[in-house]
Symmetry: C2
Subunit: 420 residues, 2 copies
C-alpha cells in the first residue's frame, strides 16, 4: 500500500467522457490498495473563458474577485470527478481549497501555498476514500478564495503530495514524459527515465513546457518524487507505459547518468543593447535597477570590453535579454532613464533564441561549453551571448538557426536514440 | 437611507453587458444613500449546463457533489458583478454562501436556510460597501456546500432581506410585476400594485410563475416586503416604473382591495380515478398513505357518493389530482397496492387544467364560488372537481377549455382593464 497523488490537466478533464477515463485510471490505483488523492484542473478552455469575463468586466479587475470567478472551474471538475468515481464504486469526495484547507498567502491571483492541512485528508484516505482536490485554489488567512496563477494546479499537486507524504506525485499530461529535447525538432529525441529536480528546473525555465517551474522547485524543496506521464495511454493498463521520474540526484542510477540530460530552446526572449554607456562605477546599476523595479526579469547579460578613445572618455555597449512579453515595457523604462544612464542608442532584436544544454553530469566534466561552441561554430552559427550555471550552458543565437542548433548539439552530446 | 436587497435572475446576469446594466441599476440605489445587498443567479443556461454534467456523470449522482458543481454558477456571477460595480466606482465585494455564512440544513440539493449570519454583512454595509451574494447556495453544519433547489435564489434574497432587516426586497425578473391573470391569455389583464403574501402563495402555487413559492412563504413568515419588477425597464431611471409589492394584508390600501385579486391556471395536473373502492373505514387511507410515502403531493380529492347495491356490498369511486410529473410513479404505487386498496380499475387523464380564483376579499364576501360555477356553466364548461381554501376557489376542467375559462372569469369578476 502506498500513498499517491494523481494530477490531471485540463485536456484530461474536458468533458464527462474524459472524466470517466480519469476515474477508471484512479480506480486502477485504488484497486492496488493505494491511498489516492487526485488534483484536477478545470476543463480545457474553461479558465480562459472565466478570465475573459473578468477582463471584459474591468481592465483593472480586483484580483480577489477574479479568484472567486476563476476558481469555479476547478470546483466544477472536482465535484464531477467525485461523482464519476462513485459511479464506478470508488468512494470519493471533493475537498475545496477552503474546506481542506489549503492555506495560501494573500497575493490574490498569484498566491503561494503556505500549508496544506492534512487533518481531514488523512482521515478520508485512511477511511478508504479518494480525496478529489481542485488544483490552483486555496484560501487566504482572511478567509477569501485565492488562486495560484496560471498552471498552478501542478503546484497544488506537489504541495498536497508533500503534506500527505505521498510516495510519488503522478502528473498526467498530454506528453508522455520528459525528452532529451523537443521531439518535433529532433525525431530521434529520447524519453528520459529519470531527471533530477535541478535539471528539470533548467529545462522547464528554458522552454520545455512539461511542468510549471514553481511545482518543480517545490518538489525539490520538499523531496517529492514527481512522475510525468501521459493521460492518453492506450490499453487496459496504461501503467505499463512509464513516464519520466523527477527525483533527487542521489536517486539517479549510475547507468542512467549522462554528461548532458537534455537540450532546451526558447524563442520568447528579446535582446536589448544600450550603446555607448559611460564606463563608470554605477553605470550598470543604473540600467538594471529601474528594470527590477518594474518587475522585469533580466536574463543573459554581456558587457562588451570598453574601448578607450582618450584619457577621460570611456564607454561600453551593454547587451541583455528580457522575456519578449516584457520588451515594450523594458524599452519604455529604459527610455525614461536615458538621461540617468547616459547611453546613446537603444537597439532591440526579437529574432533571437536561447539554446541551453543541461545536465548534472557537467559538474564533474570539463569541456561541455567547449563542445558547444565548437559544434555551433562548425555549422557557422554565431553566438550572440553566453550564460552558464552549474548544470547549464546557454547561448543566444539567431532565431532562424534554432532547429539546426538543437539538432547538431543533440548529436554532438550523444543523445540521439538508436534507430529502431 | 434604507437597507435594500436587490435580486437579479439569470436573464439579467447573462453576459457582461447585462451585468454592467445590473451594476448601473445598483448604483442608482447606492447613489440615493441606500445600503444595498445584491443576490444574483447564475448566467441563464449555466445551471442547466452544470446539472447536465452531473446527470451525464451518473444517473444517481451524489447530491453533495452536485451542490459543489452547480453552486459554481452563482459564484462566477457574484464575482463578476463585484468587479463591474467597482469598475463604476461602487465599492463592492462578493460573499459566498460559506463566507457569510448562510447556514442551511444538510438536505443537499434541496437545503433549507436556517440562519443568515449578518455579522460581516452589517459591517460591510455600514462601511458603504455593496455586498454581492450568490443566490441558491449555503453551507451545511458539516462545512459542505449546499444548494436550495431550482429557483432558490429568490429564497436566498428574501432570507438575506429578513436577516438584515431590509426595508424591501426587490426581485428583478423578466416580467414587470404580478398580473390579474396571464396577459398572454387575457390581453386586458392588469398589473397589480399590491398583492398579499397569501394571495401570491395561491397564485404562485397554481401556476403564476413569477416567484418561487418558498420565497413567498418565507417573506410572509418574516414580514419581508417584496417587490417584483422588470430588469429590462427603459429610460435613465427605471425606478419610475414600479412593479408589484407583495406585502401583509394590513398594508393593502382600502381602495386597492377587490373581491378577487387574480386568476391562475395550471395545466400540469393529472387526474386519477379509482373505481369501485370498497366503502369501508380506512379505505381512503389505504389509497393516500402509499402516495404520501412516495413523496407525491395529492391536490384535489373527490369521493363520489357511495351507491349501495345491497346490504353488504357498498363501493365508491375516488378521484384526485397529482402533478403530471408524478403520474407514472403514482400509477405504479397504486398498482402495487391494488390488493390492499381493493379498487377495480385505475383510470387517468392528463388533459385537465386547474383554474383558480384568488383573493383575500372573498373572506368577507359570499357568492364567489357561486359566480364561478354560474359563469363556467353558462359557457358549457364542465367542472370535474372543486377545491377551496379561505382565499381561493379552484376547479378542474378539460384542458382545452383553459383559455376560455380564464377569459370569462376575468370579465365576470370585473378584472378587465379599461380599454386604453
Amino acid at each position: 500500500m502506498a500513498r499517491i497523488v494523481m494530477k490531471f490537466g485540463g485536456t484530461s478533464m474536458a468533458g464527462i467522457e474524459r472524466i470517466r477515463n480519469v476515474a477508471a485510471r484512479v480506480k486502477r490505483e485504488t484497486d492496488k490498495g493505494n491511498q489516492v488523492a487526485v488534483v484536477v484542473s478545470a476543463m480545457a478552455g474553461e479558465t480562459d473563458r472565466l478570465v475573459n469575463f473578468c477582463r471584459e468586466a474591468s481592465a483593472l479587475y480586483d484580483p480577489r474577485e477574479y479568484d472567486v470567478v476563476v476558481s469555479a472551474g476547478e470546483q466544477v471538475t472536482s465535484g464531477l470527478l467525485a461523482i464519476a468515481l462513485q459511479e464506478i464504486g470508488v468512494p470519493a469526495r471533493s475537498w475545496l481549497g477552503w474546506q481542506l484547507p489549503i492555506h495560501t498567502s494573500d497575493a490574490f491571483a498569484k498566491a503561494r501555498i503556505r500549508t496544506v492541512d492534512t487533518h481531514a485528508l488523512d482521515a478520508a484516505l485512511a477511511g478508504g476514500e479518494v480525496a478529489v482536490i481542485p488544483g490552483f485554489q486555496g484560501v487566504a488567512e482572511n478567509g477569501r478564495v485565492t488562486t495560484l496563477g496560471r498552471g498552478g494546479s501542478d503546484t497544488s499537486a506537489v504541495a498536497v503530495a508533500a503534506a500527505m507524504k505521498a510516495e510519488r506525485c503522478d502528473i498526467y499530461t498530454d506528453v508522455d514524459g520528459v525528452y532529451t529535447t523537443d521531439p518535433r525538432i529532433v525525431p530521434r529525441a529520447r524519453k528520459l527515465k529519470q531527471v533530477t529536480y535541478e535539471e528539470m528546473l533548467e529545462l522547464a525555465s528554458v522552454g520545455a513546457k512539461v511542468l510549471q517551474t514553481r511545482s518543480v522547485g517545490l518538489a525539490m524543496k520538499e523531496g517529492v518524487r514527481v512522475q510525468v506521464l501521459s493521460s492518453f495511454g492506450d490499453g487496459p493498463d496504461a501503467d505499463t507505459l512509464p513516464g519520466t521520474m523527477i527525483v533527487g540526484e542521489e536517486e539517479i542510477t549510475q547507468v542512467e547518468r549522462q554528461l548532458i540530460t537534455g537540450i532546451a530552446h526558447d524563442k520568447n526572449e528579446a535582446k536589448i543593447t544600450l550603446t555607448s554607456v559611460p564606463d563608470r562605477p554605477g553605470a550598470v546599476a543604473s540600467i538594471f535597477a529601474p528594470l527590477a523595479d518594474a518587475g522585469i526579469n533580466v536574463d543573459m547579460i554581456i558587457q562588451n570590453i570598453a574601448h578607450s578613445y582618450g584619457v577621460a572618455a570611456a564607454s561600453t555597449d551593454v547587451t541583455f535579454t528580457v522575456p519578449s512579453t516584457d520588451l515594450a515595457r523594458s524599452l519604455d523604462v529604459l527610455g525614461n532613464a536615458q538621461a540617468t544612464i547616459g547611453f546613446e542608442k537603444l537597439v532591440h532584436d526579437t529574432k533571437v533564441a536561447k539554446i541551453s544544454v543541461v545536465g548534472v553530469g557537467m559538474r564533474s566534466h570539463a569541456g561541455v561549453a567547449s563542445t558547444m561552441f565548437t559544434t555551433l561554430g562548425a555549422r557557422g552559427i554565431n553566438v550572440l551571448a553566453i550564460s552558464t550555471s552549474e548544470i547549464k550552458v546557454s547561448v543566444l543565437i539567431d532565431e532562424d538557426e534554432t532547429e539546426l542548433a538543437v539538432r547538431v548539439l543533440h548529436s554532438a552530446y550523444g543523445l540521439d536514440a538508436q534507430a529502431a
